[in-house]
């Protein structure tokens, strides 16, 4: 962490912790405790499914909210408060600052997600009184959520390089929702008879981040095996997509006047 992006990342993480961002864990813990007690009392044979589904959905939703709402302010706040002025007068390149900010938020999200995973595991153990080998799929599902969050973070960072936090939030949310329904967009291209619409739908499908592929919550809840190929494909896809988005963000930010 002694590289310049590493130094910025650690400070970004420290900022999130001191701004009490991790307090969301309290709500998550309460949700999990409540769900475990409730499910233990009313569900018959599907306690595990309910807890895993609810837990993973909560991990995802909490993470997405954090990624977007913290992410949109990462650059904007530094410009507004002019904290960036002193920083960029040091031997720090703008892309290094951006990558550091990205790394810091992903680190925050990773710690947050890890702690939520512990809470989910505790709730699961409370309900089932055992851990099984097939529970490893939950870890894979969590890993995919983390990839998804990293991708969302890169998008918020990109938008916050040239627009307001409000618009950045709207753009990111819009892209996220469209990305979740990416297969449906592709299907429009398949069923349509108009060549223009087909071309458009196919182009949008390939350009949009495909968030649908990161969702394996149902498989994890039903203890289905997740193919290893999907793990590395998703990893590679997320890494490449994030790299492209951060490159675009760096290109925009490096040429922007800081007023």
């Amino acid at each position: 962490m002694s590289t310049i992006p590493g130094i910025v990342a650690v400070n970004t993480f420290r900022e999130a912790v001191r701004d009490r961002v991790l307090y969301n864990l309290i709500f998550f813990a309460l949700l999990m405790m409540g769900a475990a007690v409730l499910v233990g009392g009313v569900s018959i044979g599907i306690e595990r499914d309910v807890i895993v589904n609810l837990g993973l959905t909560a991990v995802s939703v909490f993470g997405i909210v954090m990624a977007i709402f913290i992410g949109v302010g990462l650059v904007h706040k530094e410009i507004e408060k002019r904290t960036l002025y002193s920083l960029l007068a040091k031997p720090v390149q703008r892309w290094q600052f951006l990558v550091g900010k990205f790394g810091g938020l992903v680190l925050t999200l990773a710690v947050n997600t890890a702690l939520m995973t512990v809470g989910l595991a505790a709730a699961l153990f409370y309900v089932t009184r055992k851990f099984e080998r097939s529970d490893a799929t939950i870890v894979v599902a969590i890993y995919f959520i983390l990839l998804e969050l990293a991708l969302i973070t890169s998008l918020t960072l990109l938008f916050s390089c040239f627009t307001t936090p409000m618009l950045s939030t709207l753009y990111t949310l819009g892209i996220y929702i469209a990305g979740v329904f990416a297969p449906n967009i592709r299907d429009i291209g398949i069923v349509t008879t108009s060549p223009a619409a087909k071309w458009m739908a196919t182009a949008v499908y390939y350009v949009l981040p495909n968030f649908h592929n990161f969702n394996v919550m149902a498989a994890a809840a039903h203890q289905e095996t997740i193919p290893f190929a999907l793990i590395w494909q998703n990893t590679l896809y997320a890494a490449l997509y994030i790299a492209v988005v951060l490159l675009a963000a760096s290109a925009i930010f490096s040429n922007r006047d800081l007023k």
Partner: protein, 323 residues
């Protein structure tokens, strides 16, 4: 001849304004300037003159529309140049969740210092700006003056060759101003180049080897404060004491002011000897005869008001100091 510390060549900055951003507003207009190594250089101008724009251009925070600049021979687009410079923005604001010590530690890391060196530098510079006792207080609890001091500490933490300070005295009480002045003088005594913007003219007059005056984005004059203001003598001030029983000639009595036995009179330079002869006849005891020169403030105000009248502005510009 050694490379100038700062070399600005035709630096211009236009901002797009308006809803469609079609109209351009010129904030800085072909600024050409050189600052020598080891100089304390004051950058003067009223609000909106382009001082902060210049500093932001030099720091790479904004990009020039045209022109170029070099610091210690390196282009301002070269981030490596930032190892040799320090910068304090106007009304500095820092991460308020950090303490002063943590902030300086954060910035010191960018220069690759190890832990021991960082700690040593932080201790030394917090002491120098008078914040040793508040090192572990979160910056959100700092006053404006304390933030200003942190700003100076972070700017000089790595012992840069060239220090840029944007309004370093603003927001400081007299003690704080004195401390900042001492820091600037100390940096200067160690051969560092200091480039600071200010509109506190007395500070510029006291600290600067040379000053530049910027009005409406245009350079109006550059030179030593004394050169800029010594073009004319406004009059001669005579201080004297008049003993009991003696009276001043009526034409002098009308123009003199006095407190007790001590009198003050201002006469045109050409009439000073005549006035002294008359005072001799009155048996006055001459205390001092001082030429009244325009202050830097007079010069500054002349340029600022002259900007509204282009012809006068050209006349006001001292030809011998324009670079």
């Amino acid at each position: 001849m050694s490379t100038p510390a700062i070399q600005i060549d035709g630096l211009t900055k236009d901002y797009a304004v308006g809803f469609w951003r079609k109209t351009m507003r010129r904030s800085l207009d072909h600024l050409t300037l050189e600052v020598n190594q080891g100089e304390a250089f004051g950058f003067l101008g009223p609000n909106g003159a382009g001082k902060t724009t210049t500093l932001k251009l030099l720091m790479g925070l904004i990009f020039p529309t045209s022109g170029s600049a070099r610091v210690r021979g390196r282009s301002i687009s070269d981030v490596g140049m930032h190892r040799e410079i320090g910068y304090m923005p106007e009304q500095p604001y820092f991460y308020d969740y950090l303490t002063a010590r943590e902030l300086l530690d954060y910035f010191a890391r960018f220069f690759g210092y190890d832990r021991v060196e960082r700690e040593e530098r932080i201790r030394k510079f917090l002491e120098r700006v008078g914040l040793a006792g508040s090192a572990d207080v979160q910056l959100r609890k700092f006053s404006k003056g304390m933030l200003q001091r942190v700003g100076i500490a972070q700017a000089i933490l790595h012992d840069p060759e060239v220090v840029f300070l944007d309004e370093p005295m603003s927001g400081l009480d007299p003690v704080g101003r004195r401390e900042v002045r001492d820091i600037i003088l100390e940096l200067k005594s160690r051969g560092r180049t200091i480039f600071f913007s200010t509109h506190i003219l007395s500070d510029a007059e006291m600290l600067c080897d040379r000053v530049a005056v910027l009005v409406g984005g245009k350079l109006q004059g550059v030179g030593a404060p004394r050169e800029l203001v010594s073009m004319e003598i406004k009059g001669m001030e005579i201080l004297f004491e008049l003993h009991a029983g003696y009276t001043l000639p009526s034409e002098m009595a009308e123009r003199a002011t006095h407190t007790g036995e001590r009198y003050r009179i201002v006469v045109p330079e050409a009439e000073v000897y005549v006035a002294l002869e008359k005072l001799k006849i009155c048996a006055a005891r001459i205390l001092s005869v001082t030429p009244l020169r325009p202050s830097l403030e007079d010069y500054f105000l002349k340029l600022v008001s002259g900007q509204k009248k282009p012809t006068q502005a050209r006349e006001a510009m001292p030809a011998e100091v324009a670079q």
